[in-house]
């Protein structure tokens, strides 16, 4: 954790970005004996700070930015037609956005890899589920996933989860009655949250603040693997913003990553192989910023696909006032979900239901805007606390080349580099799916005598925190940016480890798949070196 930010001599591998996409590659390659350097735009957050961060989140009308110090010139971006909030949906720090995430870790389903063949939609992945299956199992071990095998829709697996899952909540038992009435099958969700001591991590203590911060360390965050990489000799340079990748005279081999430190000093890091793992917004931005004579439209962009096909999971919510109480805010994560509508026949795109255990404001939040005290302080709790339920839906979004990340011309960041411009919208299919999901969610809540009091407007929810698709994988260099080995078609030593390589995004949370692909990247880099 030194403040020294000069480059590393003789690095075999330079990893850019230290979220799960970068950290897992770095830890794997460092363990194999390679000299690895990690360049990370954000800072180290000491685990000892996490109680203070939790308090910040609980006490002061948390705006989603403060806890991980997001926002400001470094993180600027522009949006066009839709206002897509980005900075509450990502973190720049050692460990990346997993410092903030909810840690739900399902696998993609088999059909997600074969959307064109099965349904004539989008494109197939150049991989099958079976190709990723051993990597999924390894990723679950690395992240420490707790789960139970009760999901009737899940793809096949050959080994149990590393830890037992968290049982369904009291609130789930209420939602379950509605689901049964409507014919929706619920099941538990796997989480990268330790249910028992695991790999030096504490089991979950029930702080209930998983998003945005877990003070116990039970929730996995990728700084775990950055530390493992360090222990195996890797060097981490934090607050190092990479702004250009430079190739040799042939244009086929990368030689250096140019980065800027907080005082504005620029350095160059040389390496034999480069792994870009900056998430699906900053990865295409960095490639576009690295345009050269040999790559006039941006690095690795001979296909013109860099930045295109940006996908998210728009999240729509249905909230109901219930006749009975549910235990809300006694745990910070969702325990039950449903993949009943993992389907492209009845519905235009798939969706995942998440049954909320945090449908109500937390007590401290209620108190922070109360104007009463003494015996009146608990009046909201006495009368109806917990008489609320909500179902949150993640909607699958299909790739659309017009949803894209480009550079915002003259608008620049703290070091004078063009910021990303995000042009994103929802298509008819996704809107239709969202409307259908909202109807089913309302039916479930009505079946338990709930009165629907609020539904989010799919037109305004934005793409959520799952950013995918902007440097997609494929076998045809005219249509895709990276090969099935996750190596750029146009450069022999540039690898991408990110959901930006996803061809489609399914309706499940993406990070376990990011982790599985990261372990695959490590194998390929090892093979090459």
């Amino acid at each position: 954790m030194s403040a020294e930010r000069t480059p590393e001599d003789d690095a075999d591998v330079c990893v850019i970005g230290s979220g799960p996409g970068g950290a897992l590659v770095a830890a794997d390659l460092a363990a194999r004996g390679y000299s690895v350097v990690i360049l990370e735009a954000g800072r180290w957050f000491d685990p000892d700070e996490r109680h203070v961060q939790m308090e910040l989140a609980l006490r002061n009308g948390y705006d989603g930015l403060e806890v991980w110090e997001m926002g400001g010139e470094r993180d600027e971006y522009l949006t066009l037609e839709y206002d897509v909030p980005l900075n509450t949906e990502r973190v720049k720090g050692v460990g990346g956005t997993t410092l903030h995430w909810g840690a739900v870790t399902p696998r993609l389903h088999e059909e997600d890899f074969e959307m064109e063949t099965r349904y004539g939609l989008a494109r197939d992945w150049p991989l099958e589920y079976d190709d990723l299956r051993p990597y999924y199992a390894a990723a679950e071990r690395e992240l420490g996933v707790s789960g139970d095998e009760d999901n009737p829709f899940a793809p096949p697996r050959s080994e149990p989860y590393p830890m037992e899952g968290f049982p369904a909540s009291q609130a789930d038992s209420v939602y379950a009655r509605g689901c049964e009435d409507v014919g929706v099958r619920m099941h538990t969700a796997p989480h990268a949250i330790a249910s028992e001591p695991y790999d030096g991590r504490s089991p979950c203590q029930g702080y209930g603040t998983c998003i945005p911060v877990c003070p116990s360390g039970a929730k996995y965050s990728a700084d775990v693997h950055v530390r493992k990489a360090e222990a195996d000799g890797a060097r981490v340079i934090d607050r190092a913003q990479v702004h250009r990748l430079e190739h040799d005279s042939t244009g086929e081999t990368l030689e250096r990553a140019h980065y800027t430190t907080p005082d504005g000093t620029e350095y160059e890091q040389a390496a034999d192989a480069f792994v870009v793992a900056c998430g699906a917004i900053e990865t295409p931005r960095l490639l576009l910023l690295s345009a050269s004579d040999a790559h006039p439209d941006g690095l690795a962009n001979s296909s013109g696909q860099v930045g295109r096909n940006l996908m998210g999971h728009p999240y729509v919510t249905t909230v109901a006032a219930l006749e009975e109480r549910t235990r809300q805010n006694e745990i910070g994560f969702t325990t039950s979900i449903s993949h009943e509508f993992y389907d492209h026949e009845e519905v235009p795109t798939s969706f995942q239901f998440e049954f909320s255990n945090v449908a109500e404001y937390a007590p401290m939040e209620i108190v922070s805007f109360t104007e009463e005290w003494g015996d009146d302080l608990f009046e909201p709790f006495d009368t109806h606390y917990g008489q609320v339920g909500s179902i949150v839906t993640a909607v699958e979004q299909l790739p659309d080349p017009d949803n894209r990340v480009t550079l915002a011309g003259s608008r620049t960041d703290n070091h004078g580099r063009p910021i990303p411009m995000v042009d994103w919208h929802l298509g008819e299919r996704e809107l239709e799916t969202a409307a259908f999901a909202q109807e089913v969610a309302a039916d479930i809540l009505t079946a338990i005598d709930g009165e629907v009091v609020w539904q989010s407007d799919p037109e305004t929810v934005g793409m959520g925190a799952h950013h995918m698709g902007t440097t997609r994988m494929g076998t045809d260099p005219d249509e895709s940016v990276v090969s099935p080995e996750l190596r750029a078609h146009d450069l022999e030593n540039l690898y991408i480890s990110s959901a930006s390589t996803f061809v489609t995004g399914g309706a499940v949370n993406p990070t376990l798949t990011i982790a599985a692909l990261a372990l695959k990247v490590a194998d390929h880099v090892d093979g090459r070196l």
């Binding site: 685990p47 000892d48 700070e49 996490r50 109680h51 203070v52 939790m54 308090e55 609980l58 006490r59 002061n60 968290f166 049982p167 369904a168 909540s169 009291q170 609130a171 249910s195 991590r201 504490s202 089991p203 979950c204 203590q205 029930g206 702080y207 209930g208 603040t209 003070p215 116990s216 360390g217 009975e324 109480r325 549910t326 235990r327 805010n329 006694e330 745990i331 910070g332 325990t335 255990n357 937390a362 007590p363 401290m364 108190v367 922070s368 109360t370 104007e371 009463e372 005290w373 003494g374 015996d375 302080l377 608990f378 709790f381 006495d382 606390y385 917990g386």
Partner: protein, 185 residues
């Protein structure tokens, strides 16, 4: 329900302050920040908030079913000061604002007032509608350092079930059982 030193220790442990108390069985997290409250040489700034004043404030804020003790507030504020040295000074300043206002409104110190009179002082000061702000003036500073501070202490230290049926509010490491418990009517 009586709030004792033990409740304060529970709160501090939840906040990552390690507190050594003989016989303490506070929930143990895997990590801890700050120092040790019983550490030899641990000093506190001279500008300390009066304990009776903090007890009076807590009694006003908490429901009447809660009995506040001096050891509770004392342990709590000194524990907090381990992590942030300026903290005691800020609490003292916030309390001074309230106490001065009590003198202005009724000519008496805050601790001497009845419950209803204390309510009036806080209301008159605008604490109920103020936005909490550690750098703000007057009521905003009081809302941050007294009002929310003491309520936060309450939520993470007390057995809230005794007041309303919520067994493990966020911020409290109350384990992974309560979210599953049936709700008794």
């Amino acid at each position: 329900m009586k709030l004792t030193r033990r409740n304060a220790v529970t709160a501090l442990t939840a906040m990552g302050v390690s507190v050594s108390v003989a016989g303490c069985t506070a929930p143990v997290g895997d990590d801890s920040a700050g120092g040790d409250i019983d550490e030899p040489g641990h000093t506190t700034p001279g500008d300390e908030p009066p304990v009776d004043g903090l007890v009076a404030t807590a009694e006003t804020l908490y429901p009447s079913s809660v009995e506040v003790t001096a050891e509770f507030v004392e342990t709590y504020v000194h524990g907090r000061a381990i992590v942030d040295e300026a903290y005691l000074v800020e609490i003292a300043r916030a309390y001074a604002t309230v106490d001065e206002h009590a003198h202005e409104v009724s000519g008496e110190p805050f601790v001497e007032l009845t419950g209803a009179e204390r309510d009036e002082v806080l209301e008159d000061l605008g604490v109920g509608t103020a936005t909490p702000n550690p750098d703000g003036g007057g009521s905003e500073h009081v809302r941050f350092y007294l009002f929310e501070e003491l309520l936060y202490a309450f939520f993470v230290s007390a057995e809230p079930a005794a007041v309303y049926d919520h067994l493990n509010p966020p911020g409290r490491p109350g384990g992974t059982e309560t979210y599953r418990e049936a709700i008794g009517e």
